[in-house]
């Protein structure tokens, strides 16, 4: 009898050891990923992770996507709406295919809080959603307190950031259309890191292109808090010299500290600048839900993640992707990169839900096009491979780079990129 017991104990021990090994070493043959993943935010990152979780798990992982807007509106290409060569319809994509084709449950709602211990999400419209894993793709929120005059709702209705595509994109376009010829459009760029490093310079270019055609006495002034152009510098400076001499003026080290809303005056450290249309992009940080969830932020701004899974380094079960994260070296905050984070995360979560380790060698890459007028574009590209020594995805030396020169072919590629990435997320 004693022998029997011993044997049984040994048997249990051996079984437990085999099980532990399976979960440690990723041998869980036959285990299929199951469970419920809640995705917060339906932008480039969130929509991608939702679709790829459903596609790659062949429907075995349930996915709920919570998004406050009724449709996806793309930041990339939105500068062309501001310049008047594209419409809001051109940059808006429905969530219908995520629902009907991929079986994602899409809720138009807001998240009030996340209980990371109970693994539950509280919705603004009422009710809680429990999850096995949650993916936060919350984008950015603005630090309006850094620009006191902008830190109220009335001011924010007059001075646009238009750094989240949507109603602000439309209003900024209307302000430019209403501006008299001979007026000045000023765009203020925050200190890096910020969303879409080349975006403000692209906006300056395409607005200057609109001015040249429709309001030729008007000017564009770039008030850059940084000491130099943050992306594609040579190509942008060449465009300013070749195409916009006397139209675009670039002012480095010009951080906006405050604003006088009524007179549209940006207040710098030692100077003031009065514009006819003032466009201030305030400094930003991870979308507020990140800080509210109590997960670890770096510099109180960006989420620290494990690059094998995009899981928060502080809080199990919470993955964070897109502009909200503290980026790996030279990694831009871009929609393309958020899409890549989404795929890395979908693969990792499917493995984790099946008791397997995430892919130990992830790769992400970035491609980013900027228009310098209505038709000509330039790009920057980079590839980032996981490095086990630093536990970061590191840029591959000698790979990537920028365009040889602006041209129309790249302008066509930029639109091709947009149509394909929107489909990759949402079709």
């Amino acid at each position: 009898m004693k022998m029997m017991l011993m044997k049984r104990r040994d048997f249990l021990k051996a079984g437990a050891a085999a099980g532990a090994m399976a979960s440690l070493y990723g041998c869980a043959a036959g285990n299929k990923a199951g469970g419920h993943v809640v995705v917060v935010g339906g932008g480039f990152g969130g929509a991608t992770v939702a679709k790829y979780l459903r596609m790659w798990s062949e429907g075995s992982v349930q996915v709920t996507l919570i998004e406050r807007n009724p449709a996806f509106v793309s930041c990339p290409i939105s500068n062309l709406v501001i310049a008047g060569t594209k419409s809001m319809e051109d940059i808006t994509v429905s969530y219908d295919n995520l629902k009907s084709k991929w079986g994602v449950r899409v809720l138009q709602d807001d998240v009030l809080a996340i209980d990371t211990a109970k693994r539950s999400v509280k919705l603004a419209k009422g009710g809680d959603l429990s999850y096995d894993r949650v993916v936060l793709s919350p984008g950015i929120d603005f630090m309006f307190d850094q620009i006191p005059g902008l830190n109220n709702a009335a001011a924010q209705e007059k001075i646009m950031h238009a750094w989240k595509a949507g109603p602000q994109t439309v209003t900024l376009r209307q302000q430019l259309e209403a501006m008299k010829d001979g007026g000045t459009f000023a765009i203020a760029i925050p200190k890096a890191p910020y969303r879409c490093p080349p975006g403000p310079y692209e906006r300056a270019c395409v607005v200057a292109d609109y001015f040249k055609k429709s309001k030729p006495k008007s000017k564009v002034v770039i008030l850059d808090a940084n000491e130099d152009v943050q992306s594609k510098k040579g190509l942008f400076v060449k465009a300013w010299n070749d195409l916009y001499k006397g139209v675009i003026e670039y002012r480095p080290n010009s951080e906006v500290k405050d604003v006088e809303v009524a007179s549209k005056t940006a207040i710098l450290e030692f100077d003031k600048f009065k514009a006819d249309v003032l466009n201030i992009i305030p400094p930003h940080r991870a979308g507020n839900i990140a800080a509210q969830s109590g997960i670890k932020l770096i510099n109180n701004r960006w989420v620290d993640v494990d690059w094998l899974s995009m899981e928060s380094t502080s809080t199990p079960g919470v993955h964070v992707i897109g502009d909200a994260i503290f980026p790996a070296p030279t990694m831009p905050k871009s929609g393309h990169m958020a899409n890549q984070h989404g795929k890395l995360t979908a693969a990792a979560i499917i493995n984790l839900l099946a008791g397997q380790a995430p892919n130990p060698t992830p790769v992400v890459m970035n491609t980013c096009y900027s228009f310098v007028d209505a038709k000509n574009a330039i790009h920057v590209a980079s590839i980032h491979q996981y490095d086990a020594a630093t536990k970061l995805v590191q840029p591959v030396k000698g790979a990537g780079g920028v365009s040889a020169a602006r041209n129309e072919l790249e302008g066509k590629a930029a639109m091709g990129w947009a149509k394909n990435i929107w489909a990759d997320m949402l079709a």
Binding site: A18, A22, K51, W56, N351, Q356, P362, K412, N420, A427
Partner: protein, 100 residues
């Protein structure tokens, strides 16, 4: 007991492989191309990007090698291909060749 030991042994063997490569490595690598070339290599028709799904592996690999070496002129692919090892490009070509 014998059977459990056998399973544990298989697990140990598999673990050596799992550290080297994820079973879905080719799929994951190929997905890094999908932003421009479409989910599973099916590009949006008429948007000017090449579909990769169902192309022969030999043709895909030759194109990638020519971009990487600079033999085939490109606006961006010569920069992107240099970011991947030849083994990774081979896995990507395998994956797209297998797509219908």
């Amino acid at each position: 007991m014998k059977r459990l030991t056998a399973i544990a042994a298989v697990c140990l063997l598999a673990s050596a492989g799992a550290h080297a490569a994820d079973p879905n490595l080719a799929r994951n690598l190929a997905a890094t191309c999908a932003n421009c070339h479409g989910t599973n290599g099916k590009a949006v028709p008429g948007a000017g990007m090449d579909s990769l799904a169902g192309e022969s592996k030999a043709k895909l690999l030759q194109k990638l090698a020519d971009f990487k070496s600079g033999d085939k002129p490109a606006s961006i692919m010569h920069q992107i291909t240099k970011g991947y090892t030849d083994e990774q490009l081979s896995l990507i070509a395998d994956y797209y060749a297998a797509q219908k």
